[in-house]
Structure formats: structure tokens, C-alpha cells
């Protein structure tokens, strides 16, 4: 039995679903938080090379405490490991890779996304501003921009809006939204409900979404494998 409100479950199903988007040979940048979960669910036989914007490509899993190397972290500040084929480069080249359209996919968290593919994920006026870091570059540059987030905020209000009202991270860049309720494709014609999570109905997703969703004849279902 699924507990739709379970935080851990939500993170898992989002992470799993994002991982299914990855193709063999893809170079992918995962943001901190929910996006990191995706690394745990890469399908068998799919080889993905992870890029971290602080200057490394070929990121292995977190090391045990005794194997931590003070000079080897990811962009979230966490310790990582190298793998065969890892290479290092300076930050300037790293952002050249990002901005230049060489990454197949970037996966980030979101505060708001709207029907035009606008993204707001870096500041809430009146709250502490951590800075945009590399987020503005990543979403402008990567071929596929996947936003992962809970479908609604803590109060149940939609986060997928007709128009973002928080300061934007970038305009018209999001290509896909993966939430605990749905997978949504962002296209020039509008946003399309691609799949609904197990345990939800199309109607529930529509109700939880402010932006107008295009509902195709057939909407798929996704669920977290046991």
C-alpha cells in the first residue's frame, strides 16, 4: 500500500521516474536534493556519466568516511569518488560545457514552473537568498531540463502555474516536470500530462495544477518498482 504523503516515498518515486529518462551515454548534471535520488535508479545497461559543475566528469558514489578525499567534492559540497574515465577541469570550462549545450540533461528542484516553461527556483523575496549559483547557466544550457518537485506546496497550493510570480531563474527553458503526482512535458504548444503516478487520477492532477494541462487521449501511469 502506497502512502502518498510519505516524504521518502515521494523522493523515491520522483528519483526513479527521472532516472528512466536517462539514455545510455548521456552526460547528466544532478542538482542537490531530490535530483540526487535519480542516481540510485539508473536502469541496468544504461551508462550515464555524471557531471558536477565544480569541475569533474565521471562522478562515483559517496565514499565511506575513511575514504573521503578533501579535494574531491561535488557542487553540493558532498564528498564523492572518482570512477574509471573520470577527468577534472577548471570551473570555466565546466560552465562552457554547461552553457554550450553539451549536457544531455540537467535535473533541478523547482519552486514554481509555468505553462511557458519559465522556472523560478532561486529566491523568495523576503527570505534569505542563497544566490543562483550555477542554476541559471544549467537551465539555459542543458539540452533537456527536468524540474523535480512535489506537485504542490505544503499548504496544497499548485506550484505549476499559469505564470510564475517568483523571480525567474530563466525563461522558457523547462522541458519536463516530474512530481510525486505526474510527469508533464513542456512544449511550445503547452504543457502536456504525460503520466500520472500510481494512486492518483487525472482529475486530481488537474485540480492540483493551476496551469492548463493538455490531456492526451492516453495518459500513462508510473509507479515505484518494489
Amino acid at each position: 500500500m502506497i502512502d502518498r504523503e510519505d516524504k521518502k516515498y515521494k523522493r523515491q518515486i520522483i528519483g526513479w521516474r527521472v532516472a528512466q529518462e536517462m539514455r545510455d551515454g548521456d552526460y547528466v548534471n544532478l542538482g542537490i536534493g531530490i535530483p540526487t535520488m535519480a542516481a540510485n535508479y539508473i536502469p541496468e545497461g544504461v551508462n550515464v556519466v555524471f557531471h558536477s559543475e565544480n569541475g569533474v566528469m565521471g562522478v562515483g558514489p559517496a565514499p565511506s568516511e575513511e575514504n573521503q578525499d578533501a579535494d574531491l567534492i561535488n557542487a553540493g559540497g558532498g564528498f564523492i569518488t572518482d570512477v574509471p574515465g573520470t577527468c577534472y577541469f577548471d570551473s570555466c570550462l565546466s560552465f562552457g560545457i554547461i552553457r554550450g549545450g553539451h549536457l544531455a540533461m540537467t535535473v533541478l528542484g523547482g519552486l514554481q514552473v509555468d505553462a511557458k516553461g519559465n522556472l523560478a527556483n532561486w529566491m523568495i523575496p523576503g527570505k534569505m537568498v542563497p544566490g543562483m549559483g550555477g542554476a541559471m547557466d544549467l537551465v539555459v544550457g542543458a539540452k533537456k531540463v527536468v524540474v523535480t518537485m512535489e506537485h504542490t506546496d505544503k499548504k496544497g497550493n499548485p506550484k505549476i502555474l499559469k505564470e510564475c510570480n517568483l523571480p525567474l531563474t530563466a525563461m522558457g527553458v523547462v522541458t519536463m516536470i516530474v512530481t510525486d503526482m505526474a510527469v508533464i512535458d513542456v512544449t511550445p504548444d503547452g504543457i502536456i500530462l504525460h503520466e500520472v503516478a500510481e494512486g492518483y487520477t487525472v482529475e486530481e492532477v488537474v485540480k492540483a495544477t493551476e496551469a492548463e494541462l493538455i490531456i492526451p487521449g492516453k495518459v500513462g501511469v508510473f509507479s515505484l518498482p518494489q
Partner: protein
Amino acid sequence: MPKIITAQEAANLVKQGDKILIGGFLAVGAPESIIDALVQKGTKDLKLVVIASDYEDKGMGKLVVNKQVKAVQVSHLGTNKEIQRQMYADEIKVELIPQGSLLERVRAAGSGLGGVLTPVGIGTLAAEGKQVINVDGKDFLLEKALHGDVALIHAHKADKQGNLIYRKTARNSNPVMATAGKIVIAEVDEIVEIGQLDPERVVTPSIFVNYLVKK
């Protein structure tokens, strides 16, 4: 050939009000010994250019905690509560710049360019006060060259001529910061004889380096 000096001597080369480019990311690859010497000396009104503001007790964060910093150009503050406090208290001036744009601005300075045109930041607060230039139908922000009076960087090894190699993700912003300071001081883990570094592995050619500090 660069002069080999102590961290204290390096701190003495920084003047009140200087703009300092500091290498490192989340304090990995930060020139900690020189920063410590600067904290010790207490030089005020510093203007810093860094990609992230590190931690209260690590990297450039120590200069913030010691209230030596007047202004920062930076992309990320999230790991340093004190800089956020000072920002909201108007004790420090913060200019937030997308990380890639900040790096390109420093690179432009170091490589003699007036600036670059980037699509990043268009339609956001990062575009405020910046010129928009249309090239063949697409809008770009003009990001201007960003020079430093001093660059403080960290590398793994230097030869005595000043050629530098780095280690893993401690490379990060150090090579680009090294190109754009009027004075460039590199803290290194080890100084070796000329000819001891693999010429194909050198990342920062010696021409950029004025002083070496053995960590």
C-alpha cells in the same frame, strides 16, 4: 621567476580597499594559509570576487566573519549565514552573478576581452543594469570584464618557475582567477625544482604567477 614568500608577506601585499579574486569552491582549493594571514593582519574594506562564499570557519568566510569585507561579487551564499546576515544588515554589498557569467567575466579580464555575450540571466534579476545586445535575432547580456588588484589562489604543486598543477576538484576557479589579478599569489602544497612537473600536465603557465607561498 616568482618570489617565494610567507603567508604573512602575502597578506602584506594586499592593501585596504583592494579587489581580491579568491580561488576555491566551498573552501576546497581555497588559499587558507593566506586567508588566515589576512585575518591576522585585519586589512579592511576588501572587495572580493569568489564563486561561493564558503563557510564561516573556512575559506573566504573567515574574512567575512572578521568584518574585513566591504563588497562581494559571488554566485552562491547558501553555506555562509554570516554573509547573509551582513547583507541584510547593509554591512556588506553583495552582487549576485550567475556562476558561469562570473567566471567568464574574470576570464575576459585575464584574456584582454572587454566582455562576453551570454544568454544566461536574460529575463531575470541578474539582467538588472546590464546591456542587452541582440545578435542575429537572439538576446544576450553583456557581461563585462572583471579585474582584480590581487588574485589569491591555491594549487597542488608549483615548480620554481611558477608553473602550477592542481589536484582533483581543488582546481575549480583557481586557474581562471590566476589570469586576472594585477598581483597573483599562489599557495601551494609543494614547490619542486624546474623541470620536475610534467609539461603536459601544467594547467597554469608560470607567466601568470608572481608569488608562491608554501602552505
